[in-house]
Assembly symmetry: C2
Homo-oligomer: 193 residues x 2
Amino acid sequence: MKLLEERILADGRVLGENILKVDSFLTHQVDYQLMKAIGQVFATAYAECGITKVVTIEASGICPALYTAEALGVPMIFAKKHKNITMTEGILTADVYSFTKQVTSTVSIAGRLLSAEDKVLIIDDFLANGQAAKGLVDIISQAQASIAGVGIVIEKSFQTGRQVLEDLGVQVTSLARIERFEDGQVVFGPADA
Amino acid sequence: MKLLEERILADGRVLGENILKVDSFLTHQVDYQLMKAIGQVFATAYAECGITKVVTIEASGICPALYTAEALGVPMIFAKKHKNITMTEGILTADVYSFTKQVTSTVSIAGRLLSAEDKVLIIDDFLANGQAAKGLVDIISQAQASIAGVGIVIEKSFQTGRQVLEDLGVQVTSLARIERFEDGQVVFGPADA
């Protein structure tokens, strides 16, 4: 997605060896126009798949997932990272290790929100090691819903995430694929959409 | 907001003495159509205020805040609940105690995203004790930005949140105001919009 790649080059900041900070338009401050355009591209890519639910994980996945849901005309569910006292019965869970934050969190979705009739499109902001998306695949499979694919805003394609998901038989659609960082600059490989 | 009150009565679930669960359309699964309508109402209420940024707190405030930002044509910022390793320099913070989760968390916004020229509309999903919104007011004041008001989707008006914010000189606009729970049912008072 050319518009996204241009924005990453213009406003993304490379910190250290492999951290890309996009907090001026995606992960902290959000540009709704770009998110809307991203939602449209994901919706177009999965238009023929009969999607019934878009699923993401709090918090940075929510904006692109919301506009994808709007473009597809279906509800969006954001998985929770922590259990809380108002959410107890019938929850589906998976443990997810974050290499960025170096903590394991329990990701959960209320079981009654997904059923065997659902066809789910997973959306997330980043794909690196694939652990978050793998946790969502696990939860959605527990609900016996089917998975049409995973839509990723920014993939670090030098990490293992895509392979992890493809090994589970899940299709990945990334709008920007970072091949490597070179002298503090992002070098893109060919994107999926 | 009649549409919202009707939805709360239809799909909200009252648990225990004063917990309202709206996880089928707001706090877990999200109905984008309702969120879009909510964003429109907030934007209309603050249309003449020269808003430059919409600020919320992860995660359930993000959807109504995003559509409010879209309707106003400005960026949205979601404050973070935990510091992380990609966000270190120049962050503004406030400690927020959650009575629901019974934990204190540090809420933060990158200082460079707000300036003295900004006029901010705060949006959040719930107002109960007002601690989250108060933390945002604190952070925005640290940035010397001004605050036009706080837009709340669901206010528990039998709790102290509104008073806490009004004591800080901040206007509150709630779309649904729960006066009390009676026999497991929600009883609304007059809303602000």
